[in-house]
């Protein structure tokens, strides 16, 4: 069975996987990083979004072996010393989550948006979230959160 090595949230990890093992399975089941969620089986929902080499990726749509050698970042890696990242803080401050299931994917996806567009409009946020489903919020507060998070990140120079 293939052996993979990568960094996850800055830490070197290696694991033995099956050829068919998905990146999300490696993260959740072998590495115990259950913050990344699985909400569908057709790559629609985005609950599984992580960053691979700095880009947002649906980890249900990538094999673990494809991430060999990559730098993977998950929701667990964002807060430092118990202090939330400004984007996480913005979600809390704007009630951008209810059940919390879509949230990790939303936050990781939002961070990739901000990388491309530091000051996204409401329409741009809504279009960017094309691949992230939320059943609880009606998106209103998610959009608000992401715009507020982007503003906070601009302020903090991140």
């Amino acid at each position: 069975m293939p052996q993979v090595s990568m960094t996850v949230n800055g830490k070197a990890v290696s694991a033995t996987v099956e050829g068919r093992t998905l990146l999300v399975q490696l993260l959740r089941e072998q590495l115990g990083l259950t913050g990344t969620h699985v909400g569908c089986d057709t790559s629609q929902c985005g609950a599984c979004v992580v960053h691979v080499d700095g880009k947002s990726v649906k980890s249900c749509t990538m094999l673990a072996v494809q991430a060999n050698g990559a730098a993977v970042a998950t929701i667990e890696g964002l807060a430092t010393n118990g202090k939330l990242h400004p984007m996480q803080e913005a979600f809390r401050d704007n009630h951008g989550l209810q059940c919390g299931f879509c949230t990790p994917g939303m936050v990781m996806s939002a961070l990739d948006l901000v990388k491309h567009n530091a000051n996204p409009s409401e329409t741009q946020v809504r279009e960017w979230l094309e691949g992230n489903l939320c059943r609880c919020t009606g998106y209103h507060n998610i959009v608000k959160s992401i715009q507020a998070g982007a503003a906070a990140m601009r302020g903090a120079g991140r």
Binding site: C40, Q44, F101, C136
Partner: protein, 793 residues
């Protein structure tokens, strides 16, 4: 107002763990030695199960066991019970066919569980399931209400001739018919309320575990009501005594009704765990959710409103066929009856109402409560019919509503369909919404849109709903087989912090925050000194869980009652310590004070004394400060309000764009406005989804056409508008907090507002009604089909 007390938008306690990826959902749990189950499901809508050969599967790598329905039957496992007995018009009981967790002899819908494979890994279980050979003898299927009620239709259950589960009614038919016979005008509608798939983002999951040393069972499950599952599964299905069965529903990723019910998989993993000797986990793939989570709505209705010449409503007559699916889900039977027909008076003074409902079996997934549950169906038909009546009578849709509103001074108001509304002010929510939506300026915006080639429309809906169901004895008299109270325990610790154990369950509603606000406010202690525990039958008192927007109105009231007992006991302790009479002790802002003096004891001092009872009235009072209360509601609560939708249709493409959505809701007293707004926005999101996008489709042979998120149109961020929410509170008259409930109003009020707006936008095309969802194709075809003359007018 304290900055984190009642009425403050306190940021949520639960968010920190969710935001750092440390929520604990059922599938996140990994039990030592855990194995994995995969359920083989029927790919046939209706078939005889001639043979299920599991031999090859059992020999596959990693496989520990394979079970079929007859294995469970041999163990005397019972069927999944239905929690509400509905009676037919003639008083006879509804038909209740058996519902074995794994099918026996016949499968009745695509997705019906046929066998379970338990293996070391999920992949191995799934691979092995492919080796199970099922010999199906296909039978003709009925996949819709229309097909099921046709004379000579294939029969799904021998016990249910004509595929009829029940034929129920409410009201005096002869009296209603007599009013209709003399009416000035009769407005009519035929509609289909579209079938929906709840699609909470977290798929269902369950882990069954058995401890051979103690004989204890544990079920971890994605449930809105763990005690209900423990009762149903323990008493009716697996025959396990409740003290040996723990049901734990940890963080749950959304429910919307779909996680109320006792599902087959919960019973299967719990039953199989001792046989395999290890914990068994099952997690649904999304495609399994589509074919096994209970669906919502699916009503076929004809309704008529009798009016006098001034537009006063004289009587309402409704005939509905409701789809139950292939089996009766836990609360399926009460949704199209007591949660539907009883809402048909709406906010209007219609003096007399008759409604008959026939519930039918079809070869489809069971249908049960989905956000709103019966009330959205009632509201949609009524608010559409009111618009049609206005148009027939050439009246303004707002004016006809005002003319028929129950007056703000008329409460308590007895409706002709059993309910008694306790409070409300429908004029006020309407006025506030008209203003916020700039209703008066609409014609200008319509004209401007027309210049751009767009069809602009506006629609209003003035809805009411019923939450916090209901006095247990009243519900029991109507066929409920469950109690409808809620429980709470308030445990004060020696140093004055508090743990609250609630029977309510949070799966996104933010109870850890709202309940903490409530308790902190009532006890005058810091918000951060309160911890809320829910979801675990090993910890919490027996509670009924969360559905029907009941958590604050019923669960919150139980909490207030428990807090009251704490304060009452605290007064006794304080009287002793302060050497005063108990009657002279006042409790305010966390202090027990002798009235008219400055002698007082802080809440923490009383708590300490209760646990270190040295200076304590031990001869009269038990030590400790820990109280439990149960509360049975006195009535439903009746949230109501007004939703206004303004939208534009592009006649070239048929696409609808919502320009503005305004909601003004009366949910009673608001504890946390931020959370209430979020609940309403989420509900409106689902309501707009129903109105414009979502539709669960079966083909005529019973194959599920919309079986994945590729085919079923879930609302995305760019499908929905920003949603303006305001509240206008009249207090509930029969609970101490004056709260009504906010979880479902969004999904109830919004669909008719959207469709009324679509029909308004298309008014030049002769469109009187459009069934949901108003997809671009449907709208475009409607525009194309309109005669050129109408289009040119």
């Amino acid at each position: 107002m304290a900055q984190d007390g009642i009425g403050a938008s306190v940021r949520r306690k639960e968010d920190f763990r969710f935001l750092i990826g440390r929520g604990l959902y059922t599938d996140d749990i990994k039990r030592p030695g855990q194995t994995h189950a995969y359920i083989l499901r029927s790919n046939q809508a209706h078939a005889e199960l001639r043979k299920v050969d599991t031999e090859a599967a059992k020999r596959m790598p990693g496989v520990l066991a394979v079970f079929v329905g007859t294995d469970m039957e041999a163990d005397k496992v019972g069927g999944l019970p239905c929690g509400w007995l509905i009676k037919n018009k003639d008083g006879s009981p509804m038909k209740e066919p058996p519902h074995p967790p794994l099918a026996i002899g016949r499968v009745r819908h695509v997705g019906d569980p046929v066998a379970v494979v338990v293996a070391e890994t999920r992949e191995q279980a799934k691979d092995a399931a492919e080796r199970i050979e099922v010999d199906y003898k296909p039978l003709p299927a009925v996949a819709s209400i229309a097909a099921a009620i046709k004379p000579g239709a294939p029969q799904i259950w021998d016990v249910a001739p004509g595929n009829t589960c029940y034929d129920w009614h409410i009201g005096d038919k002869a009296a209603v018919d007599a009013v209709f016979a003399k009416a000035h005008h009769v407005a009519k509608i035929d509609l289909y309320n579209n079938r929906l798939v709840p699609n909470a983002m977290e798929p269902r999951a369950a882990i069954g575990e058995y401890d051979a040393a103690s004989g204890d069972y544990t079920l971890y499950t994605t449930s809105q009501n763990p005690h209900v599952i423990r009762l149903l599964m323990g008493a009716f299905v697996l025959h396990l005594p409740e003290h040996k069965l723990r049901v734990y529903a940890p963080d749950v990723g959304g429910g919307f009704g779909s996680k109320i019910y006792h599902y087959a998989e919960e019973a299967i993993v719990t039953w199989a765990a001792p046989k395999v000797g290890r914990p068994i986990k099952w997690t649904a793939e999304r495609s399994e959710s589509f074919m096994s989570d209970a669906h919502g709505r699916d009503h076929l209705t004809h309704a008529e409103m009798a009016l006098d010449k001034d537009g006063k409503f004289l009587a309402l007559r409704v005939a509905t066929n409701a789809n139950m699916g292939a089996y009766l889900s836990t609360f399926a039977s009460c949704i199209p009856t007591y949660l539907y027909a009883t809402l048909l008076a709406g906010v209007y003074t219609t003096p007399i109402v008759y409604c008959e409902v026939r519930a039918v079996f079809t070869n489809t997934v069971p249908v049960d409560a989905y956000r709103g549950a019966g009330r959205p169906e009632a509201t949609f038909l009524l608010e559409r019919l009111v618009d049609i009546a206005a148009r027939d009578m050439k009246m303004d849709p707002v004016a006809i509503r005002r003319k028929n509103f129950i007056a703000a001074t008329a409460f308590p108001y007895q409706t002709p369909v059993a309910l008694q509304y306790d409070s409300g002010n429908y004029q006020a929510t309407l006025d506030q919404a008209l203003k916020a939506a700039d209703w008066a300026g609409f014609e200008g915006r319509r004209a401007e849109a027309k210049k751009r080639g767009k069809l602009r429309g506006i629609g209003v809906s003035t809805y009411i709903e019923a939450c916090g169901i209901a006095p247990s004895n009243v519900a029991g008299a109507l066929g409920a087989r469950a109690g409808l109270f809620e429980a709470a325990e308030v445990r004060v610790h020696p140093t004055g912090s508090v743990t609250v154990f609630t029977g309510s369950h949070s799966h996104g509603q933010g109870h850890e925050t709202t309940f903490s606000q409530l308790v902190a406010d009532q006890l005058g202690i810091p918000f951060d000194n309160v911890e809320i525990v829910h979801g675990d039958t090993a910890k919490i008192p027996f509670g009924m869980g969360t559905y029907g927007s009941r958590s604050l109105a019923v669960g919150g009231t139980a909490l207030v009652k428990a807090v009251d007992k704490i304060i009452a006991k605290g007064k006794k302790i304080a009287a002793h310590m302060l050497e005063a009479s108990e009657a002279d002790i006042e409790f305010k802002d966390g202090k027990f004070t002798v009235a008219g003096t400055d002698r007082s004891k802080a809440f923490g001092e009383i708590a300490l004394s209760a646990y270190i009872p040295h200076n304590y009235p031990l001869d009269q009072l038990e030590p400790g400060l820990d109280e439990t209360a149960f509360y049975d509601p006195k009535n439903f609560t009746f949230p109501a309000g007004c939703h206004i939708c303004e939208l534009e249709i592009d006649p070239q493409t048929g696409t609808t764009h919502i320009a503005k959505f305004t909601a003004v809701d009366d949910v009673g007293r608001v504890i946390n406005p931020m959370i209430v707004e979020g609940q309403v926005q989420g509900g409106v999101g689902q309501g707009i989804g129903q109105a414009l996008l979502e539709n669960c489709v079966y083909d005529k042979d019973g194959q599920l056409v919309t079986g994945s998120m590729l085919d079923y149109c879930m609302p995305r961020a760019d499908d929905l508008p920003s949603i303006g929410v305001a509240t206008h509170a009249t207090l509930c008259a029969h609970n101490p907090l004056g709260v009504k409930g906010c979880g479902e109003v969004g999904a109830i009020g919004s669909p008719p507002a959207v469709i009324n707006a679509v029909v308004d936008a298309l008014r030049d095309y002769g469109v009187k009604h459009m069934d949901m969802p108003a997809t671009p194709m449907k709208v475009w075809q409607t525009i194309r089909a309109a005669s050129p003359k109408q289009a040119a007018e």
